[in-house]
């Protein structure tokens, strides 16, 4: 009665015969280009070859991208990449918002945000992407962290990558905190006042940390530029560097299999039965 289940096979899509022809094996002479499209393709290939001959970047790219992944790898493994793309989206929209934003505490900041939201072409859209993208990034960071924890992917030899990930989590929180002030409306002003005072409740160093964040004992004219510099220069640079280290370790150590996938030991390495 146990009928063997067949994996369903998708039908072949109707592709043109050129696409179905096997690619020429690497290292063989490419045919002479005939059409203008082929000429353009050859030009592109020779540029890439020129760069690769002088940098050997293709080896690094292959090392980074074409890795072996364990059995059982599933969609949960994409949360880290999703977080990185959320960061890249924040970086791109942030750079363009900086073209219109004015870190002026006497009301210019609020006016510039109002100008972006109401007058700039697609301004509200780009600002909306940055504003909601921040929330998306924080959510993704936590989902990624939860995946790593539940799958036990933080265990030896990946502990250092967990530590780097925690640093990235803290930096993401700093981004959220410093970015919240920038519109300089009532909500961001009071949230910043309260946030700085929470920082200040750390014993001994807290009061000095508050003074550092405000640039003085009271919220003053330098507070907003200070937050802006931290938000758009210091922390994004640190996050980019940390993502580099995080990715290097992922490529170097490989990803771990889900906990429910049991590794089959090699027959040569298996222990002899006693």
């Amino acid at each position: 009665m146990a009928k063997k289940l067949r994996k369903p096979k998708l039908p072949m899509p109707p592709l043109p015969p050129q696409a179905l022809a096997p690619a020429p094996p690497p290292g063989t002479q490419r045919g002479r280009p005939q059409t203008p499209l082929e000429h353009a393709g050859e030009a592109g290939k020779s540029v890439v070859d020129w760069v690769d001959e002088r940098t050997s970047l293709s080896g690094a790219a292959r090392w980074l991208m074409f890795r072996k992944v364990p059995k059982g790898t599933n969609w949960f493994y994409s949360l880290g990449s999703a977080t990185m793309f959320a960061f890249l989206a924040q970086a791109v929209t942030g750079v363009f918002l900086a073209m219109y934003y004015r870190p002026d505490g006497s009301g210019g900041a609020y006016e510039s945000i109002r100008y972006i939201s109401t007058s700039v072409f697609l301004g509200n859209f780009v600002r909306g992407m940055h504003r909601w993208g921040a929330t998306v990034m924080v959510v993704l960071v936590f989902l990624h962290m939860g995946r790593t924890f539940v799958f036990g992917a933080y265990k030896y030899p990946r502990e250092l990558n967990w530590v780097i990930g925690v640093v990235l989590l803290i930096l993401t929180m700093v981004m959220g905190f410093t970015g919240y002030l920038l519109p300089l409306d009532e909500r961001s002003y009071w949230a910043t006042v309260v946030g700085i005072n929470i920082n200040g409740t750390a014993p001994f160093l807290g009061p000095y940390l508050s003074d550092f964040l405000r640039g003085g004992a009271e919220f003053n004219a330098t507070t907003l530029p200070r937050f802006y510099a931290i938000h758009m220069l210091i922390v994004p640079g640190a996050i980019a560097a940390m993502i580099g280290a995080h990715l290097y370790l992922v490529a170097k150590l490989g990803t771990s299999a889900p906990p429910w996938v049991r590794a089959k030991p090699d027959r040569d390495l298996a222990e002899e039965p006693a």
Partner: protein
């Protein structure tokens, strides 16, 4: 030592048979040059990094004292009710640099602290001592109430209930040329003892004053 490991050289130049070596010399010319190059590099890096760092953390050490601001005539302030006045705490940033202060005349029946020239009027900040939201003087209840986390303070600004760790901060006041003036801020503990200004959230009773030390950026008068 493993036999394959290379024999380490003696640290004395004499033992290594270097020309010009003298007794007890350990620094070779190569080592001296390497050290000099590294030292010069570090010096130059420090020459850029340290001033930039000091530039960023400089405000921690800069004392900014709030000047005296005229708020009205002595008759403007009764001794049984607070009058809100707006003072500038940070110049040059408009509304964001302004703060409300509640002022009343000193009432010897209520205020038991010894009188002096700086407390003839009681000026209490609207900045909640919990996390810095704006407290509101509610006349009917004779209480300061914070909308954020529900701290309640009495007529003297002493905490009645809620999460605030100390009474509301005060400002020095004085009579100047027939006008009432408000001066620098100071913090008080629950016995109304005067301390240099602390940020909200920092207790001043018990060991609080040592856990949250006075800062160079603000001092008491």
């Amino acid at each position: 030592m493993a036999p394959t490991r290379r024999q380490t050289k003696s640290k004395y130049t004499v033992d290594r048979g270097m020309p010009g070596a003298f007794e007890g010399e350990t620094v070779t010319r190569r080592r001296f040059m390497t050290g000099t190059a590294h030292g010069a590099g570090m010096l130059m890096a420090a020459g850029i990094t340290l001033p930039a760092l000091a530039f960023a953390i400089g405000p921690i050490f800069k004392n900014v004292t709030l000047g005296w601001q005229t708020i009205g005539y002595p008759d403007d302030f009764p001794n049984n009710d607070y009058v809100p006045v707006v003072i500038t705490t940070s110049p040059g940033i408009g509304e964001a640099g302004k703060s409300t202060v509640y002022v009343r005349a000193r009432d010897p029946q209520v205020d038991k602290t010894p009188p002096n020239q700086y407390n003839r009027w009681v000026a209490i900040t609207s900045r909640c001592s919990h996390l810095g939201c704006s407290v509101l003087w509610v006349d009917a209840a004779e209480r300061f109430i914070c909308p954020c986390h529900g701290s309640v303070f009495d007529l003297e600004g002493v905490r009645v209930s809620g999460p605030a760790p100390r009474p509301l901060d005060r400002f020095y006041t004085r009579l100047f040329d027939g006008y009432v003036q408000v001066g620098p801020r100071y913090s008080v503990n629950s016995e109304l003892r005067i301390f240099s200004p602390r940020d909200p959230g920092e207790p001043l009773d018990g060991i609080g004053q040592y856990l949250y030390p006075s800062r160079p950026s603000v001092r008491k008068l």
